[in-house]
C-alpha cells in the first residue's frame, strides 16, 4: 500500500497539472461548505463554518489521456523502445495530454449575515498549482526518429503546447437567497501569481525536401515563444540552496503577479423536488510583471548546406562560408530573450446540474432552524435520496473539454451523506467516484475519490483525484 501511495503522490506531483479539475463529486454536495467554491450560488444551510487551517480543503488530481504509466513501465518483459514506439509515438495525438493539479485551502470560512439572514458570506485563501502538457506529437517523432527519410513531412511546431501556474488566491463571496426558489452567488478573487510558464499558440513547421541545388533542403518556419514569470527567481533560489520558502511566501502574498477573477453561480428550484444549478468559475486573468523572462524564435529560413557558386564565391578569398551560413540563419530566425509583461487568462470552468430529490424523511438531516429552506429554498435535506446529472466544461488551449456526470446521493439521518458519481470525459469512460460527508456534532469531515475502478492498478489509470477536508460547522441560526 505504501508503494501505491508513493506512486500516487508521484503521479500527482510529477505531473502536477490541473486544468481538468472537474470536482464532480463535490459539486452541489451541499452538506460540505467547500462546495461553495464550485458554485457560489449553492443553497447554504449553515449559520457559519470554519475550515481547519491547511486541512479544510486538500485536492489533488492527475490525468493522462491515451497513455498510462502502466503502458510504458509495466514489468511485462516487453522492450520499452517498442512500447514507446507503439503506444506513444504511433498512437498518441496532439490532443492527448497529461495534466495535474493540487489545491490546498490555507483558510476557509463563512458566516450568515446578521441583518439579513438571506445573505451568506464566505472567504478564504488557497494555493493552487497546475501543469499541463499536450503530447507534442510531431516534435516527439522528430526527437525520437529524426528527419531522415521523411522528405516532405512537415513537423508542426504548434504541437508544442505546455503551461503551468502556481498561484495564491484570496477570495470573498456572497451568496443570497433572492426568492424562495432562487439563490444567486458571486465571488471575487484576488490572484497573486507565484510562478507561471507557458508556451502556447506556437506555429510554424520544420520540413526536409529535395534541394533546388544541393541534395536536401531543410526549411524552418517558426513563430514560437516561451513565457515565464517567477521561474528564474525560483531556480536561482534553488541553486543557491535556500530561500525558496520565503520567495514563495513573498510572491504568494501579493508580491508576485497581480490578478483578478470572479465566480458566479445560481440555484433554482423548479419545484419542491427538482433543482437546477449552474456556475462559472475563474473568469479572470493575471498580469505577469515580475521576474518575467520570455524566449522567442521567430522567422523562416531554408538551407542547403554551404553553397559555393563560382565565380561569385571567388570574390572574397577569405570568406568563411560556414560562419556566413550560421550568421545568416541566426539573422533569419533569431532566438531572442525579453522581459515584456504579459497576460494570462484563467481557465474558465462551467458547471451545471439537475437534481431530483425523493424519499422524504420528514425532517432536515441537519440540525438547523432553516427558515429559508422551510419556506422553499433547497429542500434536499428533507429527502433521503437525490439523483441527477451534471455537465462540466473547461476552456483549454486546444478547445473546451467536457465531462458528463450522473450521480446518486443518499443521506443517513443527520450524520452522513454519501454521493456516488459516474463520469465520462476525454480521459476515461469508466470514472466512478465516491464522496462522503460525515457530521459528528459540529465537526464535518469529508473525503472523496475519483475513478475508483482504476485504484485496482492505479498505474494503469488515466485519471485520479482525491479530496478531503475538515470543518467546524454551526447549523444553528442566531
Amino acid at each position: 500500500m505504501i508503494r501505491s501511495l508513493v506512486l500516487f503522490i508521484t503521479l500527482i506531483a510529477g505531473y502536477m497539472t490541473i486544468h481538468a479539475q472537474n470536482k464532480e463529486v463535490l459539486y452541489d454536495f451541499i452538506e460540505i461548505p467547500q462546495a461553495l467554491m464550485v458554485n457560489p450560488g449553492m443553497n447554504t444551510i449553515y449559520n457559519w463554518y470554519a475550515g481547519v487551517p491547511l486541512i479544510s480543503g486538500i485536492y489533488v488530481q492527475g490525468a493522462t489521456s491515451g497513455l498510462t504509466v502502466n503502458d510504458i513501465f509495466a514489468a511485462d518483459g516487453l522492450d520499452i523502445n517498442q512500447k514507446v514506439r507503439d503506444r506513444a509515438l504511433n498512437s498518441l495525438s496532439k490532443r492527448d495530454e497529461v495534466n495535474g493539479i493540487f489545491q490546498v485551502d490555507i483558510l476557509n470560512g463563512g458566516f450568515r449575515g446578521q441583518k439579513d439572514p438571506a445573505n451568506f458570506f464566505s472567504f478564504g485563501m488557497y494555493v493552487e498549482g497546475y501543469a499541463l502538457n499536450y503530447w507534442p506529437k510531431d516534435l516527439a517523432i522528430l526527437a525520437y526518429e529524426g528527419n531522415a527519410d521523411r522528405l516532405g513531412q512537415r513537423f508542426d511546431l504548434n504541437d508544442l503546447n505546455t503551461s503551468g501556474q502556481f498561484i495564491n488566491v484570496l477570495h470573498f463571496g456572497i451568496n443570497r437567497q433572492i426568492k424562495n426558489n432562487l439563490t444567486l452567488g458571486a465571488r471575487i478573487k484576488l490572484y497573486s501569481g507565484i510562478v507561471d510558464f507557458n508556451s502556447t499558440n506556437n506555429s510554424g513547421y520544420f520540413e526536409t525536401t529535395v534541394g533546388q541545388n544541393n541534395l536536401l533542403r531543410n526549411t524552418l518556419v517558426s513563430d514560437m515563444r516561451l513565457r515565464s514569470s517567477g521561474l528564474d527567481a525560483l531556480l536561482d533560489a534553488n541553486d543557491n540552496g535556500g530561500g525558496i520558502g520565503s520567495l514563495l511566501t513573498k510572491r504568494g502574498l501579493f508580491g508576485g503577479d497581480p490578478g483578478l477573477g470572479f465566480d458566479v453561480g445560481v440555484t433554482y428550484n423548479l419545484n419542491k423536488q427538482t433543482v437546477i444549478t449552474g456556475s462559472l468559475l475563474d473568469i479572470g486573468l493575471l498580469y505577469h510583471t515580475s521576474d518575467v523572462t520570455n524566449y522567442t524564435l521567430e522567422g523562416s529560413a531554408s538551407i542547403e548546406g554551404v553553397e559555393i557558386i563560382l565565380p561569385d564565391a571567388l570574390s572574397d578569398p577569405n570568406a568563411d562560408f560556414w560562419e556566413d551560413l550560421v550568421n545568416e540563419i541566426e539573422e533569419l530566425i533569431p532566438f531572442e530573450e525579453n522581459s515584456k509583461n504579459y497576460v494570462t487568462f484563467r481557465p474558465i470552468k462551467f458547471y451545471s446540474s439537475i437534481r431530483y430529490n425523493f424519499g422524504k424523511q420528514g425532517e432536515p438531516t441537519a440540525a438547523c432552524d432553516c427558515d429559508n429552506q422551510t419556506d422553499s429554498g433547497d429542500r434536499s435535506l428533507y429527502y433521503l435520496n437525490s439523483v441527477g446529472g451534471q455537465l462540466y466544461a473547461i476552456n483549454r488551449p486546444r478547445g473546451p473539454q467536457f465531462a458528463v456526470t450522473a450521480f446518486y446521493q443518499r443521506r443517513f439521518a443527520k450524520v452522513l451523506a454519501l454521493k456516488a458519481t459516474y463520469t465520462v470525459d476525454k480521459f476515461t469512460a469508466s470514472n466512478i467516484g465516491l464522496g462522503m460527508s460525515l457530521q459528528a456534532g459540529p465537526v464535518n469531515l469529508y473525503i472523496m475519490g475519483d475513478n475508483l475502478l482504476a485504484y485496482g492498478n492505479i498505474a494503469d489509470g488515466n485519471y485520479a483525484s482525491f479530496q478531503l477536508g475538515l470543518n467546524i460547522i454551526s447549523w444553528e441560526r442566531n
Binding site: 500516487f8 529524426g146 559555393i308 462522503m436 475519490g449 492505479i458
Partner: protein
C-alpha cells in the same frame, strides 16, 4: 440493519482508497530506452561553370578549404553513433574531371578523402555513399573534422565547350547521421 448500506458504502470507499494498489512497475526500463534520431541535411554544394574552368590556366582549376564546424560541435561529436555521407557529382562540361573531397582536422591534416573521376559529358551522374561508424570508416574522422577541402583537376583541355546548355560541374553532398540522445 438500518445503517448497513451506510457502512457498506463507507467500507467500499475506504477499501478502494486505502487498498489501492498497482501492478508491478519497472522504472529501471528507462535505462534501456534508446533515443537515437537520425538527422540528415546537406553539407556542401559547389557549382563551377565550364567557362571558369577554361579561364584557369593549368589543370588544377579549383582548390579551396572551407571552415566546417557542424561535425565538431560538441553535442554532435559526443553523441554521433553512425551515419552516411552521400556525394553526387554531375558533369555537363566537355572535360573529364578529377575531384577530391577531403575532411581536415584543426591542424589542416587530411583525415579522410574521397576521389571522383568523371568523364566528359554526356555522362551519368556519379553518386557515392560512404558509411561511418561500426560498419564503415572511423567515426573519429567525423568527430575531428573542422574543415573541408575540395580540389578539382581538369583532365581535358581549356578550350572546348560543351554542346549542352549551361555546361557546369556540380558537386553535391549530404550527411545522414544517427545521434544518441539517450
Amino acid at each position: 440493519m438500518k445503517y448497513i448500506p451506510k457502512y457498506l458504502y463507507t467500507l467500499i470507499m475506504c477499501a478502494a482508497i486505502l487498498s489501492s494498489c498497482v501492478d508491478k512497475q519497472d522504472f529501471d526500463q528507462l535505462d534501456n530506452l534508446n533515443v537515437t534520431p537520425t538527422a540528415e541535411a546537406s553539407i556542401l554544394y559547389v557549382e563551377t561553370p565550364e567557362r571558369i574552368i577554361n579561364q584557369v590556366s593549368g589543370t588544377n582549376f579549383y582548390s579551396q578549404t572551407f571552415n566546417f564546424d557542424a561535425f565538431s560541435e560538441e553535442f554532435f561529436a559526443d553523441n554521433v553513433l553512425d551515419g552516411v555521407v552521400t556525394y553526387e557529382v554531375e558533369n555537363t562540361t566537355s572535360k573529364p574531371l578529377d575531384i577530391t573531397f577531403e575532411f581536415l582536422d584543426d591542424a589542416g591534416n587530411s583525415l579522410d578523402s574521397e576521389n571522383f573521376t568523371v568523364n566528359a559529358a554526356p555522362t551519368a551522374i556519379l553518386r557515392r555513399e560512404i558509411a561511418y561508424g561500426p560498419a564503415g570508416r572511423s567515426l573519429d574522422i567525423i568527430r575531428n573534422t573542422s574543415a573541408i577541402r575540395v580540389s578539382a583537376t581538369n583532365l581535358g583541355d581549356n578550350t572546348s565547350v560543351s554542346t549542352l546548355p549551361n555546361p557546369t560541374v556540380y558537386l553535391r553532398s549530404s550527411a545522414k547521421f544517427r545521434i544518441g540522445l539517450k
